[in-house]
Amino acid sequence: MSVAGVNDQYLATLANLLKQTLEPTTRQLAESELFTAEAEQSNFPIAILQLITKENTEPSVRFAGSLLFKNYVKRNWVREDESKIPSEIRNAIKECIVDILVSVPTNIQLQLSEAVTLIAESDFPRDWQNLIQQLSSKLDPEDYARNNGVLQTAHSIFKRWRHQFRTDPLFAEINFVLEHFCTPFFQLLQNTDAKITEHAQNKQRLQVYMQTFLLLMKLFYDLNCQDIPPFFEDNMEQCMALLHKYIVYSNPLLESESEDEAGPLEKVKSSICEIVTLYTMKYEELFTMLPQFVETVWFLLTTIGIEAKYDLLVSKSMAFLSTVVKLEQYHKLFNSETALTQFCQKIVLPNMYLRNVDEELFEYDPIEFIRRDIEGSDSDTRRRAASDFVRSMMTHFMKDITRIIGTYITQFLKQYNENPSNWKDKDAAIYLLTSIATPGTATKHGLTVINDLVNVVDWFSENVLPDLQAPVDSGQPVLKVDAIKYLYTFRNQMSKPGLAAVFPLLVNHLSSTNYVVHTYAAIAIERILFMRKDNAMMFNKHDIKPYTQELLINLFRLIEAGTTPETLAENDYLMKAVMRVIFTSRDDMSPYVGEILNHLNKILGEISKNPSNPRFNHYVFESIGALVRFNCLDNPMALQNFENMLFGPFQIILQQDVVEFVPYVFQIFSQLLELHTEAQLPDIYKGMLPALLTPNLWESSGNIPALVRFLHAYLYRDSLAIIANKQLEPILGIFQKLIASKANDKYGLELLCSIVQYVHTGTLNQYIGAILSLLLRRLQSSRTEKFALGFVNFVCFFIAINLHGGPDYVVHAFDSIQEKLFLEVLNAFIIPDLQKIQGYTDRKVCAIAMIRLLTQSDLILSETYINTWPVILAALIKLFEAPTEIENYDAEEELLNFDFEEDRQFQTTFAKLTTASKPRIDPTASIPEPKVYLAQELHRLSQAYPNIAEMIQTRLPTECIHYLDQYMKLANPTQDNVSG
């Protein structure tokens, strides 16, 4: 190793520490000592690497060392502060790590491979030019364990290409790799092929070679994913011949013994299917062997077994055929009655049929069955792939496929009707019908686009309804589920009377003893209640009144049957149905609202012990929020009752710091507080406020939006009390803390909007200078695009609300800090950024703010500002007329925050409650049409100041004058334009 200075004693110390980390008793201390060592010795990583290479070190210590090294790289390699690892150490690591990688056992190799990937992510290719040569020089015609290590590393470096956009740096990197990697890659591919042929009788070696081949296939995909490299174009025939060889390859020695787990050969074949799908999709014009692969894959699909280990291969194979059959230029390969019939019969039917493994899942893991079945999380299942294949074939052969599949449906139904023990035939028939009737899949709103050749409503009455009408616990539960799911899928095809007629049947099925059946009933009910017609809900409180009580009793019974917090919260579909029933019934619930709240409280108490299912939790709180919303408005008595019932459980959540629930609790609190109408803040809220202003609550990022929302409610309700209790300054402190953070600055600005809106002028006067200085300082020290826009948004809001003395108050507030400061703000931020403001309301607020500034400010007409006046007007017109940029203004930055939040999943993330959300307020609601308002105000202004008209004429760009004329006509159709 190139960097000296690592003596044996140091290595021994480190080895000892690593060993101690493996013992629970000594772990903590050893870890902290390792941290110290890491901080003190710059050659620490080199020493660790040396330790890993020493074969006389204990294997467990070597492994611990490799883990430590990987984490070290993860923590330190990519940092703004480059000095964390000196460059000579960096270079030394890059010099030796590939050598070490190929010489260590597999478990260690995996860790080092990840470390190399992490380093490469930041350094390759610019600062690690010889990485590819280093890797490819390690490829060995004999040592395949070593090859696999190299290939694994290469794959983990290259695979990120698959997800990146086409850019010059990316293409340069790929070309750089291609230049050095293609030849060794291709040699190894041929070599591996030769080895597999040579050692066809040696199981152990075959396994290794197959693993190599699999990695080679993954690399094949990596190298081809963005565009087809000339090397592959030139060697297409040879490569594809090899791929073809292995998609048909079979060797009894490679048969996987398990029924469920795919072996390396199945994985290789799946990978090959992915490659040919890629080639079909992107390089079809060069891919001359495509028809051959179609034939081969078709043959493969007709001969493959039904075991679960083949599931992936089957779905990848069907995905390939689906891609081909959709292509205009290839669909003729399928264009014959025989071919289509064969495809349906030999590929679609067998894979549509319920298998024993599926039945087992239905019985033993019902919730998993439901999730896979209904949410499309089953993208790799056979049924899904077969359905997709049917739909793909219908792209060009709608009529034929409908007819062919129709024949099978009739036949299957006949078989079932002759003998009900053939229920799987009916199950398949229903699934087939769904596939041909729907060009896509729909979950949320049901379908409105369907195949005209199929009458799904008639089919329902004839074949599905009887299953629903039969006693709840009679017959095959799978068919019950099929029936409910059919209704669910085609609900948009049904009329309201039709749905209303079957609704009681669904309610009945909530009492089914079968988990899947009653859950599906809840799902269907929930979705039917969510249907809209002509922009109103299809079912209203009167429609469900006869069923509400039974629905809720049954749903709560099913939910509360869960004996542990986890099992109780497992089935979020049931809870969602509760929520939807409450949403639909609205204030009809008032007679038994207490009872419902009791149930919710009980559930809340249970799940607080271990909040395991975020969706379930969310629906619980939405339900509470909805009850509050529909029952407490203008009803102080009800409000009082709710507070009495909710405060207890909520307090427990706060005291026990159930982090997942705290943000919800604050949102409900905000909602309740805003519903109070008395002049003064109720004591209970008054008492809570000091705790809200303590820093620890604000540490959790999930709490921040909820707390800002809560403070908004306080300020809105009674800002005077807050000021009197000297609580405004801590709130300003919070504002300051929030705007210092790039992740939270938007909440800081939100809080500031509440402050300038509800704090009266006298108090605001004391602070506004400091507040604005803080914003400007933040803009100076770490300006981000997002914050700059947020700032513009705030200033506009401040002007638009028209309090404290109108626009001049804002201008003056800035200018008191420094002479002509507002002029700078205008030129540096507002004028250039105005147009980037997004969202209908925000843009309107900005427009109104600019109109007020132009026409209701004395200062703007003063000597300092008058030259800017036409520029502001031009910017305003531009805001009105030029296209908005609606994409993310700074995706990078947003991403930063986004990932930042994702990283912190151990912390609560904020989930907004719809029912408890702050109403979106347009502070300019009284002005409906900004363009007209501008025209009117300009007209008014020019009466008072005749030189305004002249300024418009001489200083405004012609296009702008043209638009201005239009506004004038809008405002007053009879009047002449301004230029007239």
Partner: protein, 536 residues
């Protein structure tokens, strides 16, 4: 221009109603992975000129394949060159040329190694036309060599001699070979091209040749190619006057209506356009020609014209407008239904550039009926074409933001289903633009739904055809930007909010009424500001 006007112009530029700075154009890639068509074009013309039909010099039979070694024969040939007898010199020269070009028996390097280059260059100055011609032919072959080899002939002083000869001679054969040689040298690298330009006179020499030939002929074809290779790559400011001196030639060449010349001129103009000289191409006034050539019967000319127009429409709005005024939109209509897929692809690319234009241009595109054709192609064509049409449609949608009626018009023509289908392709750029377009549609729809109290048809449709499921999956995409876009769409448009509730509560917040309750009073002094919490 007086001062006021000048100021006004600056003012205008600064706040003109444009949003180029905001609208991210599709990034133009400089680096490609796949082998490019254009490379093929260059390779085809770069190769050793093997034309021998024009040769009328009797060749003595050469039999290099027998006994004597190549170096020995080379030695003999060089001796022949050094002879005093023109006849022998000529025979030796043509043997050289034959060995080099037709039979490829000796390599360029062997010639260089035997110090023959200066001798050839000397022959260029000979009074004998045939000697000059043979020498030029040999040198033009040598100019197909490597950069180092070309450097040798440049060092031998070939460039000033070529330029002078080109200026003086009327021998078309000689002109032809000089032009070949200059083209080959220029194409090798920008420095060589600069050296040629620095010799000057390119424009006037070409003009002379042009004046002498009213009809299309071999030398004019070569000249057009030479010019195209001179325009290739970045052009330094210092060379610009030389380059622009050749522009009148291009205009005259294009009027000759010869397929090969048209082909070369189109490429020449493409190179100019690709190197940020779109405005100069426009100023040549050839745009109507180019648009006409887009439907030329000769496939190669058509392709070259398409390339050229591609580069022009990637310019700014006013440059695009010039092309639109030449009637390109009607031409595109016919190209989008061409039977050749490469033509359809190029046409779609051009359309995708036009739809980055201003709103009037997009309105024009819609009114001509290009959108439905493009949507049709997005459904039924190969991936490359689908990709381009997808860009065309998505750009248009995002540009139409302020004109809901235009967006609605595009949506009504059935773009949603094909766009959602594009989400199934394994192409991250496409996924990204489609998500942005969907976002734009949904955002508009939401605004309209709020304003006009109507329902969200598009959201529903996207949901029904499986789009929302797909977008939901993208929330786990490895690509951060795609993840974020998907997250935003799901968050904003798929959330099950019930707007009905909100309007109900809105009435309770009476902002203005609330504020009247405030008592205005002044209190603490401004010193308190210091206690505002933590430092930034």
């Amino acid at each position: 221009m007086n001062k006021k006007q000048e100021r006004k112009k600056i003012f205008k530029n600064r706040y003109a109603l444009k949003t180029e700075e905001l609208f991210q154009m599709r990034q133009k890639l400089q680096i490609e992975i796949r082998r490019q068509d254009r490379e093929k074009f260059l390779v085809a013309r770069h190769g050793i000129c093997t034309s021998n039909t024009s040769s009328n010099i009797g060749l003595g039979e050469i039999s290099l394949h027998n006994t004597s070694s190549i170096s020995q024969q080379l030695y003999q040939l060089i001796e022949g060159l050094n002879s005093n007898c023109v006849e022998i010199q000529l025979i030796s020269l043509s043997k050289f040329r034959k060995l080099l070009s037709r039979e490829r028996i000796i390599s360029i390097q062997e010639i260089i190694d035997n110090y023959a280059i200066p001798i050839f260059v000397q022959f260029l100055l000979s009074k004998n036309v045939d000697l000059r011609y043979e020498a030029a032919w040999i040198l033009s072959n040598i100019s197909t060599g490597s950069t180092e080899q070309i450097q040798v002939i440049i060092n031998a002083g070939v460039l000033p001699i070529f330029t002078e000869l080109l200026n003086k001679t009327t021998d078309m054969r000689l002109q032809n070979h000089i032009l070949w040689a200059l083209g080959n040298i220029a194409i090798d690298n920008p420095q060589f091209r600069e050296l040629i330009l620095r010799e000057g006179n390119l424009g006037s020499s070409c003009q002379c040749i042009l004046d002498a030939n009213v009809q299309p002929c071999s030398v004019l074809r070569t000249m057009s190619w030479t010019l195209s290779s001179i325009y290739r790559g970045h052009i330094a400011d210092s060379d610009w006057s030389q380059i622009s001196s050749t522009f009148p030639i291009l205009i005259q060449l294009i009027n000759l209506k010869d397929d090969e010349i048209l082909y070369n001129v189109c490429w020449a103009l493409s190179y100019l356009g690709d190197n940020n000289h779109i405005e100069d191409v426009i100023n040549l006034g050839v745009s109507p020609h180019l648009v006409n050539l887009m439907v030329h019967v000769n496939n190669e000319v058509q392709t070259a014209a398409l390339h050229c127009v591609r580069s022009i429409v990637s310019g700014n709005d006013s440059q695009r407008q010039v092309i639109i005024d030449c009637g390109i939109l009607t031409v595109l209509k016919s190209l989008l239904v061409s039977t050749k897929s490469s033509i359809r692809k190029d046409a779609c690319f051009i359309l995708s550039q036009i739809t980055t234009g201003n709103i009037d241009q997009i309105e024009h595109v819609i009114h001509v009926g290009l959108i439905s054709l493009a949507i049709n192609l997005m459904v039924n064509s190969d991936f490359q074409t689908q990709r381009e049409t997808c860009y065309a449609i998505c750009n248009a949608i995002r540009r139409c933001y302020n004109r809901p009626e235009l967006t609605i018009c595009i949506v009504r023509q059935g773009c949603i289903q094909p766009l959602v289908n594009m989400l199934n392709y394994m192409d991250n750029d496409i996924i990204c633009v489609v998500l942005k377009a969907i976002n734009a549609i949904l955002q508009l729809e939401k605004t309209l739904a709020v304003e006009n109290n109507c329902k969200n048809q598009c959201t529903l449709l996207i949901e029904e055809i499986g789009g929302m499921d797909r977008i939901t999956e993208f929330q786990n995409h490895e690509n951060g930007e795609i993840r974020l876009l998907a997250y935003n769409i799901i968050d904003k448009y798929s959330a099950e909010e019930d707007e009905g509730y909100e309007s109900e509560l809105n009435q309770r917040f009476d902002l203005n009424g609330q504020n009247k309750q405030f008592n205005y009073q002044s209190s603490n002094s401004i010193d308190n500001v210091e206690i505002i919490g933590v430092k930034i």
